[in-house]
């Protein structure tokens, strides 16, 4: 049983603000991913939780208990570093048993738990080998086992998959998730790879520039981005954002996109909120996957093909008109001629509106 509560947590390095008033609640046994580009403050957050660095302001609570001033060694969190920090001068067995030996457990208990952990992680045959010169995926399993063996209620992983090759990464994603279920731990997982966050996390905290942008389930962040940053960051490629002005015509609301055309919006929460706020300048957002090309249907957005990226199972078509760009994901066989104008229809219920001035989503709480 372990919940983590971060309250107005801040960290400055000199005049640089690495983390600004972060409020985040992690539930018991939850897999929480901290996602964001380099320098967004996710590793800083992780180190604050582990106790490797001291907070400039704010509080950290484990199960409601204030641990802000508790030393790193006493917080009892498991931590897997990005480079694993394996004790290369020891055997695999000594690496695994290190935490247990530090807690002065009885030899027989240490041996029992080491062999159980070795079985789980398939490290059995390697136990008495020196931990130097082993391959990355074995080092990673040692790192996970070494932290997991002391059964910490809270487990932190700092980009543990960034050093492994793509094929093994896919295996480890499922493996990590099932390990977490077995250990029944509360996990915070730092990554810049949205695929890892999307596939493994119960909830994702998207961060940028030391500020929390949105917390939600993978689908929530994907479907209902709270602001322009989350919209552009999640998804590959990210959400298309087109500048335009709101207009109302015969009771229906729409966005005037200039040379591209006019896009009518279906009535709903967004339209209502936009109307209420009386906004004019907005950004129209829609996912590259949610576009159909249909010449027969009137009211299409017209944009010209500028570049075609073929990535095997799909085609990413880059289009532009004036200063605005759009990316569209189409099926493999999609035929696109450079320079040709395409009639685009974003899927009606998948369109999102953002306030151009504040960057916040309209009609999303």
């Amino acid at each position: 049983m372990a919940t983590i509560s971060l309250q107005r947590l801040s960290k400055h390095f000199g005049t640089f603000s690495a983390l600004h008033e972060l409020d985040l609640q992690v539930r018991d046994q939850e897999f929480m991913a901290l996602l964001g580009p380099s320098g967004c403050g996710k590793s800083t957050t992780m180190n604050l939780v582990a106790g490797g660095i001291d907070a400039s302001a704010g509080k950290i609570l484990f199960d409601g208990r204030d641990v802000t001033d508790v030393a790193m060694g006493r917080r009892g969190v498991g931590f897997v570093f990005q480079n694993y920090a394996i004790f290369t001068h020891m055997s695999v067995r000594d690496n695994l048993s290190f935490g247990l030996r530090m807690r002065r457990l009885h030899r027989t208990e240490v041996d029992r738990r080491v062999s159980a952990m070795a079985d789980l992680l398939q490290l059995g045959p390697l136990l008495d080998q020196r931990a130097s010169g082993l391959s990355v995926n074995i080092l990673q399993r040692i790192a996970i086992g070494r932290s997991a063996i002391v059964e910490p209620a809270i487990f932190l992983l700092d980009e543990p998959l960034s050093n492994v090759d793509a094929a093994f990464r896919a295996i480890m994603r499922t493996e990590l998730k099932s390990l977490q279920r077995q250990f029944k731990q509360t996990m915070i997982y730092v990554t810049h790879d949205q695929l890892e966050a999307m596939t493994m996390a119960d909830r994702i905290a998207v961060m940028d520039g030391g500020v929390l942008q949105q917390v939600g389930t993978p689908l929530e962040v994907y479907n209902e981005p709270r602001n322009v940053f989350v919209a552009g960051f999640i998804g590959s490629p990210g959400m298309n954002l087109l500048e335009g002005r709101l207009y109302e015509e015969g009771g229906a609301i729409g966005v005037d996109l200039g040379v591209i055309g006019r896009q009518r919006l279906t009535e709903g929460k967004q339209a209502a909120a936009a109307r209420r706020a009386g906004l004019a300048d907005v950004l129209l957002g829609f996912r590259p996957e949610d576009i159909t090309v249909d010449a027969g249907n009137p009211g299409a957005l017209k944009m010209a093909v500028s570049f075609v990226e073929r990535i095997g199972h799909r085609v990413v078509v880059h289009l532009d008109a004036g200063a605005q760009q759009v990316k569209m994901v189409a099926r493999n066989g999609f035929a696109a001629t450079l320079g040709a104008a395409l009639p685009l229809h974003p899927q009606a219920d998948r369109m999102r509106l953002f306030d151009k001035a504040s960057g916040l989503a309209i009609g999303v709480e």
Partner: protein
């Protein structure tokens, strides 16, 4: 002295077993150096061996080549094995070694550990700490000679601390003189230990220390399980350097006490120096040198082999 000579027989061993052709090429390439080495090492060695079986001294007025005329079989060897003053100097050298090397190691390690953290005036203290090492040993010897005079600063400080007049004749007291010499050595060479060990400590990965802390290791556990195993090789090198150096201790000591009072601070080097320069018993000195060479080789060769194999 003889200590360097130990390296010579080891040198060819470095050539790894391989193709006969490669070995021949290697031999040809290193031949000039080997010849030079043979001349430097072998010639004096043979000369020493020859003289050691005679009673020759430069006082007889003949060149050493004619030393066979003073042939005395194993007399010099018997003398080496039974001379109390020689054995006293050997024991004394080892006493200095056993006291100074661990003291310098522990002090050096302790200070180096302090320097891995941050504190006010770190750079200043760093320079101050390295100063003793830069002082010419003869000058350091003179410095401590002055410090330990009966009217000198050491006694003045002790007087101030105890409140009564202290006038210990440090350098004329049999045991205190040796202690004074050891204090001088520790003062001068702890910085070297510190410097070598600090270099080693800075090479210990920070993330491993952090990991150990996360896994519940305290300060001592980190030192024992992470730091010491990681710097063990450097530790061995540092201890080896100081052990060899102390075996040859001479300059500081000679200026402070000249081996006195009596022979109470006489180490091997000082003893050999005296026998060579004052008594002029060169054939006896040659025997001592050979004896030390054999004993040191017996210790050093297995050690070097094992150390080489450990890589």
């Amino acid at each position: 002295m003889s200590v360097e000579a130990v390296k010579a027989p080891i040198a060819p061993v470095v050539v790894q077993a391989g193709d006969a052709e490669i070995r021949r090429l290697g031999l040809r390439l290193t031949l000039p150096a080997q010849l030079l080495l043979a001349f430097i090492v072998l010639f004096p060695l043979v000369m020493e061996l020859y003289i050691s079986f005679t009673d020759w001294t430069p006082l007889v007025g003949k060149n050493w080549v004619w030393a066979y005329r003073y042939w005395n079989d194993f007399d010099n060897y018997v003398e080496v094995l039974t001379n109390a003053r020689l054995w006293g100097s050997i024991v004394r050298t080892f006493v200095v070694m056993i006291v100074c090397v661990p003291t310098e190691l522990l002090l050096g390690l302790g200070i180096a550990l302090l320097f891995t953290g941050d504190f006010f005036g770190k750079r200043f203290f760093y320079s101050i700490l390295l100063m003793p090492m830069m002082v010419v040993p003869a000058v350091a010897g003179y410095m401590f000679f002055m410090l330990f005079q009966s009217g000198g600063p050491v006694n003045a400080i002790l007087s101030a601390l105890t409140g009564s007049q202290v006038a210990i004749a440090w350098l004329s007291h049999a045991n205190l003189a040796l202690a004074a010499v050891m204090i001088a050595d520790i003062w001068q060479w702890t910085p070297l230990m510190f410097l070598i060990l600090l270099a080693g400590l800075l090479g210990v990965p920070e993330d491993q220390l952090q990991m150990a802390t996360l896994l519940g290791a305290g300060r001592w556990a980190r030192l024992r399980h992470i730091v010491l195993p990681r710097i063990s090789r450097i530790l061995v090198i540092a201890v080896a350097i100081r052990t060899i150096e102390i075996f040859k201790i001479f300059d500081t000591l000679y200026i402070m006490t000249s081996g006195g009072p009596g022979d109470s601070t006489e180490t091997i080097s000082v003893y050999i120096y005296k026998v060579t320069m004052q008594d002029l018993e060169w054939s006896y000195v040659a025997t001592i040198a050979l004896f030390i060479l054999v004993v040191l080789s017996a210790v050093a060769i297995p050690a070097i082999k094992r150390f080489g194999a450990a890589r």
